[in-house]
Subunit: 524 residues, 2 copies
């Protein structure tokens, strides 16, 4: 109770700066309905069963992969079983090639045999059968530094540097928000304060990133021109955990690249240390990947609980999360967790026999990891194109979109995304969940996931605040983002909080308040 | 300084119970020599270079493997380069078969492709080429529970349970001793207090272990009789880290067993969850292992710094650690660290131009992981057989043996191993290292490594207290015991402390005091 009051106080403090929000109304909450939601979600949860199917059974769900197709089919079928209507796998537009791994084997064979932990980078080709080649360590921070390697790489396996050395970890992998951290978050403005002098501007950072990307492209071309056999790279991770990413564009007409694997940091560093000490190193490599060019479209899975109020049923409350993942694990925390919770939330509403006034629509997005493609495509098709800001009729009818995609941790509150009128509503909606640890409303914007697609066209799109657990340290975009990381009690709690938010939004007399419409975005 | 005084006080408290120790003499410490040791060890250290060769260059050093042979040859040569004399690879007796991995590949191929992290258990055979077989999950805690699997395992890959489910970790991997913990350790008696009522006795624990081993053997025979193709097992670990062990006896006449791999816990649990949910699972497996039956002997590497005092040079101070490791990593903390520190200690003494009165002998033991075989064989050959306690002439001439084998952490003190007369000497020897964190003398016995071989025949054998770092949580007997875990500052500190202890023991007028001789041990 104290925590809850504290949040209310600090929120009131923050809102004192925001006149529009002062005239807050009292939300009518249906205590009986919320009790049903809680009862169903905490005592008859199916969220872990759903998470198991999404992760272990469907497998990795890379954009336009077989795994994502399996997940699309299964979620469509499962949402129908939950009693939702009109479940469909809806194309959002053109994405690019499908890609799946069919074999991945890599080992050091000299100076002695040692299996290496690694996986092909997404959208890279496989090796043509098994290779066994000497290794060359290429450390270059500019094109000029590639010069010494001219003529040295033919039929060699190129090993690239690791971003940082390893050290024993004196910090726990997993953490939860402290009261102090939540208080700070509650008091944070929508946009962070201006960065300290000397901090690179967004434009400077973009320029740096572009320069780095250009160098990477130039290096890749160099290795190819020089006739290298394959590339082993690393983007961090430790203890057998490694980070994964794409190694080539997914566009159907992308230029061919070399086979490239992302390696565990320990293994990559061993190769590097040996080469640097002048020890001849040989690596054996056999990877097989399969491209799919028949269907280049991307898809979202959508399904509805139809509204029951004559006047309001053509209005919609949406909830969702992205169903796609990276390829070297089963994307449990990123983002089977979010999808399982959203599916569980609509299951809870159905199973509780509640009759929402507005229509509730769940969307499981495709191709988020490559740039929120699924949600952006959906928003463009249904609501508005941020490039023109010409609004489609449905734009007027959407009350809000709720997203979950910050790992598997329980919900501690919600990012109001600068929506000062929505914040006090959320504070009242969270009140019944203080005992479950969900108390904090922050005006702060949070980014990098699908609610941004809605926010970009002036629709109320929100992401919940979640305990981080080991999302940042261990699972996010790694080969260890597996079912094992999911904490049943956290996902049950999240399902109940989401179900209640969606239900409240569907029952409210008015749609949720909106921020001012943004201007059309000029294409870059 | 406070910490040092505290330790002295608490030690004095502990020793008040031990009349023999009250009449402690004042140790003569050669401040100039200790300054030289410190200077050489902290400012011109080669310990990380040595550790690199032992781990990355020599590779895994399983008992009687190629890697251990490489390490024997390299350490012999390197100790000679350091200026030691008589370096030799000395057989200690009969061990058993050599075994090396030549290929290790395992992947799930249905319901979708996923490379699995694992390694053959030591001394298991490889598969005859590549296998691709359905998986059966066998969970049995008694022979009776195997019954339902009769007729079910032919040409199948058996998956065994994992010891415990996984959870996100809220504890750091790496830790150092707190002052409080060191104080407790300093006050601890040689033998822990009697266990609480209901705690199993040693005999009961032994009986449990024997019963478990008998069941494992019975299960292995059952799988073989039933015609299973291979076994996948797990002994814990997380995040891509897994524990390793032997899967078959190393005796030359051991009965053949099935190919068996130890798997990462995440991968093993995924297989289990899928099978339990009724999803057909198929695994592809190709391992190749090589047995070596030509040379069944085990070896230790020994080398000396000859003593310079006419009367004392036929007396010996020994230091050492085991050079062998498990096979799925390079045994960095278990125990390349200990060997690198001991080698560095003798290098420091040589490089500092110090002239020890007694002879200093370093021993790098083989086959420790299978039961302290190298050190036990050496002690039996040179000093005494614990079965008879007939003392050989050299028994009288050994002052002490110092061992290091508790990971890569810096030295915080020493286990006096119940030697009440030695404890106050060590307290004085540690005094100059308070600023480096080494302050604690405990009477407590510590076990499980090579000083026990000396202690067992009444010779003063000691193991240092080390900060644990991530030895217990991450590296000990795992596939992630790699060079990356080693902390240079810790190993430098340890080298300096060990060099000073060995030097003090070599310069002291008397040999170190001994405990009473033990009775001959009846063979079990």
């Amino acid at each position: 109770m104290l925590k809850q009051q504290l949040t209310l106080l600090t929120l009131a403090g923050a809102l004192a700066l925001a006149p529009a929000a002062r005239a807050q109304t009292t939300e009518k909450l249906d205590a009986a309905a919320l009790a049903k939601i809680r009862e169903e979600g905490l005592n008859r949860s199916q969220v872990m069963a759903t998470a198991f199917y999404l992760t272990d059974v469907c497998g990795p769900r890379l954009a336009n992969s077989d795994g994502l197709k399996r997940a699309n089919e299964w979620t469509k079928s499962q949402l129908t079983k939950f009693g939702l209507t009109g479940a469909s796998i809806e194309p959002w537009g053109d994405f690019g090639r499908g890609w799946d791994i069919e074999k991945s084997y890599v080992a050091m064979t000299a100076p002695y045999y040692h299996t290496l932990i690694g996986a092909p980078k997404a959208w890279t080709p496989g090796t043509a059968g098994a290779l066994r080649k000497p290794v060359v360590y290429v450390k270059a921070t500019s094109e000029a530094e590639l010069e010494p390697f001219k003529g040295q790489l033919r039929d060699k396996i190129v090993v690239l540097p690791v971003p940082a050395p390893l050290k024993p970890s004196f910090e726990p992998d997993a953490k939860r928000y402290s009261d102090e951290e939540l208080k700070k978050l509650a008091e944070a403005p929508a946009k962070p304060a201006a960065p300290a002098a000397g901090t690179p501007t967004d434009a400077e950072r973009l320029a740096t990133r572009k320069a780095q990307a250009a160098l990477r492209t130039r290096m890749a071309e160099f290795f190819q021109t020089e006739g290298a056999a394959a590339v082993l790279s690393n983007r961090g991770g430790t203890d057998g955990t490694f980070n994964t990413s794409n190694g080539a564009p997914y566009a159907a007409d992308a230029k061919p690249v070399l086979p490239e694997l992302e390696m565990s940091t320990e293994d990559q560093l061993r190769l590097i240390r040996l080469v640097e000490a002048g020890v001849p190193v040989e690596v054996e490599l056999e990877t097989k990947t399969r491209f799919q060019n028949q269907d280049l479209k991307g898809y979202n899975v959508v399904a509805e609980i139809p509204g029951t109020d004559k006047k309001l049923k053509n209005e919609v409350v949406m909830l969702g999360g992205h169903l796609d993942s990276w390829h070297a694990a089963t994307g449990a925390t990123d983002n089977a967790a979010g999808c399982a919770v959203m599916m569980e939330a609509v299951r809870i509403l159905q199973a509780s026999g509640l009759k929402p006034r507005r229509t509730i629509r769940i969307a499981l997005w495709g191709e988020e990891e490559q740039g929120l493609h699924g949600s952006r495509g959906y928003v463009k098709n249904h609501f508005a194109d941020p490039a023109t800001m010409v609004l489609l009729p449905a734009h007027e009818k959407l009350s809000a979109y709720f997203n979950l995609d910050n790992g598997g941790g329980k919900i501690r509150g919600i990012y109001a995304q600068g929506n000062e009128a929505a914040a006090p509503i959320f504070t009242q909606w969270l009140a019944p969940f203080a005992d479950l640890g969900a108390t904090t409303v922050t005006l702060r914007n949070t980014g990098s996931t699908d609610h941004i697609a809605f926010d970009a066209v002036g629709l109320p799109g929100f992401q919940f605040i979640q305990d981080g657990l080991d999302y940042g340290s261990r699972t996010h975009h790694t080969n260890q983002d597996t079912y094992d990381r999911l904490v049943p009690e956290d996902l049950k709690q999240a399902s109940v909080v989401v179900a209640s938010f969606v239900y409240n939004a569907a029952m409210r007399d008015q749609k949720l308040p909106r921020k001012a419409l943004p201007a059309a975005v000029k294409p870059q």
